[in-house]
């Protein structure tokens, strides 16, 4: 069904593209937010990815690859937004919108969320993308490598490095908090 919509959208049917995009935009936003940790940047990335998807859809050879291709566009848009934020911050003094970050009881109970936010923020956008694709979407390294456009080994080393850094942060948190987290599962 979706393959047919993709084929129609590739031939210029905006209604077909609208249906495809509405089905996926929540997931795209959720991924972008988790990579960028900023509501506005995530919205920019989603918008850019979907517009690029519409523009370049006639070049997609295999409609069955639409979702993987869309994720790839989104990840590129996130890289772009990540670089852009750094550039804008240098020139117009953007204040990080940490208060926008939604909290959950789970995350708050697990570990010092500020410490995790800081550790995650210190990773490059490329590293964050791999962590989110793996831990949020549940993708394997082969799929991640294909989406971000790097060799399997690079995807694995990015994930390893990122998780090492996050583990260090967690382990530095208070033992009591960690114990609570462990028993809460």
């Amino acid at each position: 069904m979706d393959d047919e919509l993709v084929a129609r959208a590739a031939r210029g049917d905006a209604n077909a593209f609208d249906a495809l995009a509405r089905d996926r935009i929540d997931r795209l936003f959720a991924i972008a937010f988790r990579i960028l940790r900023d509501h506005h940047d995530a919205e920019d990335a989603v918008q850019h990815a979907l517009w690029t998807a519409w523009s370049d859809l006639p070049g997609l050879r295999d409609p069955a690859r639409f979702d993987a291709w869309l994720y790839r566009l989104l990840i590129r848009a996130c890289y772009r937004a990540g670089h852009s934020r750094r550039r804008r911050a240098a020139i117009v003094s953007i204040v990080p919108e940490m208060d926008d970050l939604p909290g959950t009881a789970i995350a708050d109970a697990i570990v010092d969320r500020d410490a995790l936010e800081r550790a995650f923020a210190s990773l490059s956008t490329e590293h964050r993308a791999v962590v989110v694709l793996h831990h949020y979407l549940g993708l394997g390294l082969d799929e991640i490598a294909a989406i971000v456009g790097v060799p399997h080994g690079t995807a694995r080393s990015r994930l390893h490095y990122a998780l090492m850094k996050l583990r260090t942060t967690i382990e530095a948190a208070e033992p009591a908090t960690l114990t609570a987290a462990g028993s809460g599962r």
């Binding site: 795209l28 117009v92 995790l116």
Partner: protein, 225 residues
């Protein structure tokens, strides 16, 4: 349970927390303009996929596109000389690299927007044209001051080319190329109704491959005051 597994579970739970829904505004803002946006033809995308061999062809098509846009503009505004010019607009020349060519604002663009922030900075966003141009220009509030000529940053996709330059104070940290290879200068020309920014820069094109020299970028952008 080993220690790594436990901490990975914590990371996973933290990653999974957060918003799951895009706002209604984002959905509408993103999808409403789609029927008005043009799709790139598949042969062009295929050519770009092949990379640099397409450069000459793309440049030739860019020149033809500029001529056609020019003819279209003349037809739209009824001739040259003293006729109204739509604002915002830009004219961009990339001397070399994968995206070499001349690009101008397309009146049927998806996004062509200039904003002037309270801190005095300007931002010009543009998406449109064929070959497609995606431009994000930031002019800092100090750009008009005597020592502020490098208070400018740009990120640009133009056809198959992609380049960017940062404000001078973070230019050395650009991971895509050797430090300090980008230069950028902006001149601010205010008038009663518009402000024009004339930018001359040299910077690396990320799609040109290792060892490619910095390219000359000449961009003139005009915003309504």
């Amino acid at each position: 349970m080993n220690e790594n597994q436990r901490t990975d579970d914590i990371v996973r739970a933290w990653i999974r927390s957060g918003p799951e829904q895009a706002s209604f505004d984002l959905v509408e803002r993103t999808l409403r303009p789609v029927p008005l946006m043009r799709q790139r033809r598949s042969w062009r995308i295929a050519l770009e996929r092949w990379g640099r061999p397409a450069t000459a062809g793309a440049a030739a098509v860019a020149v033809i596109a500029v001529i056609l846009v020019g003819i279209g503009s003349i037809a739209r505004f009824g001739g040259v000389g003293g006729q109204p010019v739509s604002v915002p607009n830009f004219s961009l020349t990339l001397a070399d690299g994968p995206g070499a060519g001349v690009y101008t604002a397309d009146t049927t663009s998806t996004l062509n927007q200039c904003s002037h922030a309270a801190d005095g900075s300007w931002r010009y966003l543009y998406v449109g044209g064929d070959p497609s141009v995606n431009l994000d220009l930031v002019i800092g509030p100090r750009a008009g001051q005597p020592d502020g000529s490098s208070n400018v940053a740009l990120e640009l996709d133009a056809g198959p080319g992609y380049l960017r330059f940062d404000p001078s104070d973070i230019r050395g940290g650009d991971p895509s190329g050797p430090a300090g290879q980008s230069t950028a200068h902006v001149e601010v020309r205010p008038s009663a109704s518009t402000t024009t920014f004339v930018i001359h820069a040299t910077t690396l094109d990320d799609r040109a491959g290792d060892g490619a020299p910095p390219y000359q970028v000449d961009l003139t952008a005009t915003c309504r005051n």
